[in-house]
């Protein structure tokens, strides 16, 4: 019994401490180093942070180079798959584009109005600049859903920067290096996004499921009954992590769930991302007219306090006028177009009327000709019966209407 325990201890000691001639470190040393690194990485020291950024840059670039052959095969596979569905999608997209074009004008006006109102609330203008970023590493790990983009602190990317696929939200930046950044996708279990569900206007939080869809969390029980499959999910902007009003996905009913659970189907397919947009937000204070304030320095403080709200209201009114003017111009243009269209239609109607009259004339002429032909034909057969002569005193003189009537009546005088 004692010897078997000794053997076990010897084997364990050998496993931990013994290193062969080619090994530079014993396993125990490396285990301790790993633990030390884990401890250090959890601490937020400046030196460690910079070291980590350096390692990340190097590894991400290497991973991108190494992944080229696999990505090529993967992309070829997806491209072949895409070609089979291109035509169907093209038709669908064409219809959708037409619908969207019509909605575009009104949405532009609303956006403009929205921007102005936000300006007024925040006292600053947030100008956003969307920069295109390429995905350099997308490993689609079964445990963590994240991607690495080729834009970093050099391009003003910060932790929390919103990442888009076209205009749909994809995720946010959680780690920034000099030229690269890691984006946590919405599908990750650790992703939480405050959202609004329209048209019911219900506030909720969407968390990733580790799969292709998101889960709705933290809503009042029983409120699920209000949802329907056409409900749209977009960011509410609560917590100021995500901008408000960014579309995320639509609600779908999970048929497999007996409890009648809803899930969010993201608009964007995260497995197909090649390029994304990073929204760099630059906040600038609203310009206050310094010249005017210098002139009014002598005026009392109350007036100054009241001035800003009045100015703001005036600004809103001015903007409203501008919007109305814009819409008026658009309506005028539309009216002009319609007027020219009506004129062209009227001229067409006139032409068509003329055509109809000439055709009618032709028809009546044709009818007369036919009657004449019939009379002449019958005249050959029955003319002698109706013509007045020495033997036929009851007949009529030729050319009179009675003669014609008689001929058409096949020689009968009455």
């Amino acid at each position: 019994m004692a010897s078997s325990r000794d053997d076990f201890i010897i084997a364990i000691r050998s496993a931990f401490l013994k290193k062969s001639t080619k090994q530079k470190f014993s396993l125990l040393t490396l285990v301790f180093i790993s633990m030390f690194i884990i401890l250090l990485s959890s601490l937020d020291f400046k030196v460690i942070r910079y070291l980590k950024i350096g390692i990340n840059e190097l590894v991400y670039r290497s991973a991108f180079v190494v992944s080229i052959p696999e990505n090529f095969i993967k992309n070829t596979f997806f491209e072949v798959k895409d070609y089979t569905t291109y035509f169907r999608e093209f038709k669908k997209n064409k219809d959708e584009l037409n619908k969207l074009k019509s909605k575009n004008i009104s949405s532009e006006i609303i956006q403009f109005e929205n921007k102005e109102l936000k300006e007024l609330i925040n006292d600053y203008v947030s100008t956003s600049d969307k920069i295109l970023a390429k995905i350099i590493v997308d490993q689609d790990s079964p445990f963590l859903k994240s991607i690495i983009i080729n834009k970093g602190s050099k391009d003003n990317i910060k932790i929390g920067t919103n990442i888009y696929d076209q205009s749909y939200l994809v995720g946010r930046v959680i780690e920034v290096n000099y030229k690269t950044a890691r984006v946590l996708l919405l599908s990750d279990l650790n992703s939480n996004v405050p959202v609004s569900i329209a048209p019911q206007n219900i506030q909720a939080i969407i968390t990733g499921s580790g799969d292709k869809h998101g889960q709705i969390k933290y809503i009042k029980s029983g409120i699920e009954n209000k949802f329907n499959e056409k409900s749209i999910v977009y960011t509410s902007g609560t917590g100021a992590i995500f901008k408000s009003g960014i579309p995320i996905g639509i609600l779908k009913f999970d048929n497999n769930e007996t409890s009648g659970k809803f899930y969010v189907e993201f608009y964007s397919d995260f497995s197909q991302l090649k390029y994304v947009f990073a929204e760099v937000i630059i906040k600038t204070e609203v310009d206050k007219d310094t010249s005017e304030t210098s002139q009014n320095e002598n005026e009392n403080e109350n007036e100054n306090e009241n001035k800003n709200p009045i100015e703001a209201k005036l600004k809103i009114l001015e903007d409203e006028i501008k919007i109305i003017e814009d819409t008026n111009i658009k309506f005028k243009e539309e009216n002009d177009n319609l007027r020219t269209y009506i004129n062209s239609l009227n001229s067409k109607i006139y032409n068509l009327d003329n055509k109809i009259i000439s055709q009618k004339e032709e028809i009546s002429k044709f009818n007369l000709d036919t009657e004449e032909m019939e009379f002449l034909q019958m005249n050959l057969y029955y003319g002698h019966k109706c013509r007045r002569s020495f033997f036929n005193t009851k007949g009529f003189s030729t050319g009179t209407p009675e003669y014609k009537k008689c001929v058409l009546n096949k020689g009968r005088k009455n």
Binding site: F25, S34, I37, L40, V59, S141, F143, G210, D211
Partner: protein, 168 residues
């Protein structure tokens, strides 16, 4: 099959092949995840490290395995050192197993591998959830462990050809 008459550059490169494959696999995440099969994932580095530290430890530098772990953490986005610790624990387990084994048996290796990866994945899961507050799905870990276990026997048959070429 590969055989070398002289132990030149090609032989050296050939002997370094497992470690090169390991580095490439951690950089590239060789796991067919893009197939998007819901319950399918496996850990290729585990299979590679287990086999080569067990059968050919003299050509498999622990320091490079350790570095491969760091690379894996960086690529996947895990806290630095987690994968290195997992790989080192795997190396310790194989080293111990090598010491106590008199007559090697592939089936015994296979089940020992299953036991070890289950243990390591449990440690991994515990560290990530308890110390780093990560939200992880346990089922994904179980699926990963199961498929890694299944794939072991397939990859071993390929690796054996490699070892035969190295020893000849």
């Amino acid at each position: 099959m590969v055989s070398f008459k002289t132990k030149g550059t090609f032989f050296r490169l050939y002997s370094w092949l497992p470690i090169i494959v390991l580095i490439v696999s951690v950089l590239n995440e060789f796991d067919f995840n893009y197939l998007e099969l819901k319950y399918f994932s496996f850990n290729f580095p585990f299979i590679l490290i287990f086999f080569f530290t067990l059968k050919d430890s003299k050509h498999f530098d622990y320091l490079l395995v350790f570095l491969a772990g760091l690379i894996n953490d960086t690529v996947v986005g895990l806290p630095l050192g987690i994968s290195s610790l997992s790989y080192m624990l795997l190396c310790i387990a194989t080293s111990y197993f090598r010491n106590i084994t008199i007559r090697p048996n592939p089936i015994k290796d296979w089940f020992y591998f299953f036991f070890i990866i289950s243990l390591i994945n449990s440690i991994n899961y515990s560290i990530l959830t308890l110390f780093f507050s990560f939200n992880l799905i346990l089922m994904d870990y179980l699926v990963n462990t199961f498929f890694t276990f299944l794939f072991y026997i397939i990859f071993v048959s390929i690796f054996k050809y490699y070892l035969k070429g190295l020893n000849d």
